[in-house]
């Protein structure tokens, strides 16, 4: 049984002081239900999560209490991806025909505050100032630049593109382009990454209505089919965040594993993908994730990015809605934002940020602590 996405809804990302995270989630859910032409009471199940804005099943208080199984999902940056994968498997298994996936969040300003004990680490690791995701990303790209000849200018170009795409997306947080010189010259956060190369915690909500593929056309003129949804965690030897030590022999990380499995499940290859949303917690992550997801060889990013291939009109459009850099990261909603964007693109409804040429296949990828990755492949 294939699975289709028949309704999508989003609450604009950024800062919305007037609405709680839960209310932003309800806003997105109502839009998704309306988009699919269904009612909340038609949903047979709901899965969802937030990290800082309460339990997702409290949405019942906003939308109505209908007795359905509502499962709260908490899986770090892959919370949205995990909800979606679970919904996908629920429908594929035949257990239910139609349901809703929700992700929303509302974080305080400033860097995320990780708790060593929650990650299975001891207190000294945090006391010494090693418990910072920003350091991990900086150290990973630092080594990568050394190994594969990626320049600092290329890191700035990634952020430049994100803010250009954000300026074209009415739901993005950062709506103004930033000159590449200003990005490169902004405050250094963790060498070689500057302030504008990092995403910030923010707020927002996304919801999707999914149903059995054979019933999709009853609801929606332009259903988008979920060809694969895969979640992987780290294996021993992959270079990961929050690791007091790393193996001498490195192996592929969860992104490579999830990507390979997703392509195999969908029966397509990286060259078939027309539009892709790749985790860009910071500029370097987007660079490395291009190769880890199979879209180029290690080191080819330098030429691809410098030549504009990753822009909306390029051969490999990446993060067409501005990505995490322009939208910020409400953790619970972030992975579903990527799926929302790809559905818009495949329907041809992305307006000013629409990829030309009627894209047919879309790809999403999230990565998060302590080494998890979720990938989806969508087809119209």
């Amino acid at each position: 049984m294939d699975v289709a996405i028949i309704g999508i809804g989003i609450h604009p990302f950024g800062r919305t002081p007037a609405r709680s995270g839960l209310q932003q989630g309800a806003y997105a859910a109502r839009l998704a239900l309306k988009d699919a032409g269904v009612e909340w009471r038609d949903m047979e199940f709901a899965f969802g999560g937030s990290i800082s804005a309460g339990n997702a099943d409290a949405l019942g208080n906003e939308l109505g209490l209908t007795g359905i199984p509502f499962i709260n999902v908490a899986n770090g940056c892959a919370t949205g991806g995990s909800s979606l994968m679970t919904a996908y498997n629920t429908i594929r298994s035949g257990a239910h025909d139609i349901g809703l996936v929700s992700g929303f969040d509302k974080h305080d300003r400033g860097a995320f505050n990780a708790d060593p004990a929650a990650m299975g680490l001891e207190q000294w690791y945090g006391e010494l100032g090693l418990m910072m995701t920003t350091q991990f990303f900086a150290m990973k790209i630092q080594r990568y630049m050394h190994d594969y000849g990626i320049s600092e200018n290329t890191l700035a170009r990634v952020a430049e593109k994100a803010f250009i795409n954000g300026s074209l997306n009415p739901n993005a947080w950062r709506r103004a382009p930033v000159p590449v010189e200003e990005i490169a010259g902004s405050m250094m956060v963790s060498n070689p990454l500057t302030k504008y190369m990092f995403c910030s915690p923010s707020e927002g909500g996304v919801a999707l209505v999914l149903c059995r593929a054979d019933k999709a056309k009853n609801y929606c003129a332009k259903p988008v089919y979920l060809k694969s949804a895969v979640l992987k965690s780290r294996r021993y030897g992959s270079f990961e965040v929050f690791a007091p030590s790393q193996a001498l022999q490195q192996v592929d990380g969860p992104t490579v594993d999830a990507s390979r499995a997703a392509f195999e499940m969908a029966g397509v290859g990286p060259g078939d993908i027309d539009v892709m949303q790749l985790q860009d917690t910071e500029s370097g992550a987007e660079v490395m994730h291009m190769a880890e997801n199979g879209f180029c060889e290690h080191g080819e990013q330098e030429q691809l990015i410098q030549s504009g291939a990753t822009h909306i009109g390029g051969s490999m459009p990446i993060n067409t809605d501005g990505g995490c850099l322009a939208n910020g990261e409400p953790i619970g909603a972030s992975g579903l934002r990527q799926v929302y964007e790809n559905v818009l693109q495949l329907r041809g409804d992305a307006g000013e940020h629409q990829v030309p040429g009627n894209p047919r296949l879309g790809y999403t990828h999230v990565y998060g602590a302590p080494g998890i990755s979720a990938v989806t492949i969508l087809q119209r």
Binding site: W124, G126, M131, M139, Q142, V189, S190, P244, S245, Q246
Partner: protein
Amino acid sequence: MTNRLPIAEGLFTWPAQQPALLASRCRACGIASFPVAQSCMACSGQDVEVEELPGRGTLWTWTIQQFMPKSPYNSGETPETFRPYGVGYLELPGGVRVEGRLTENDPAKLHVGMEMEVVFDTWRTEPNGDEIVSFFFKPVA
């Protein structure tokens, strides 16, 4: 007389003439891990022994932490006295790559592959005068 206490028990030999970082090594697959663990992340084995890691290695990667982290960061610094610090993974031959603070925070003086040694120094001083000792990676002159 000042008490000099390790930041955590079992992280390194202490007190010792020549302190060393401590790792666990799996008797089944031979993989080392820092800090000491009760089981092996590589093969799930539970038969591990504790060993001292080498005191010298090469810098695998690094960064500079430019802003003061929030709690649980506990250095005794205030936002006014905070100084950016280097962080890196030191590849200890035959052992493992260990993450730690660097004694150097000038990016111009750091590069992948440079030789460094593990040193032990006061990390912070408690209100009662106790000195808390930790490990650091220092460029070999």
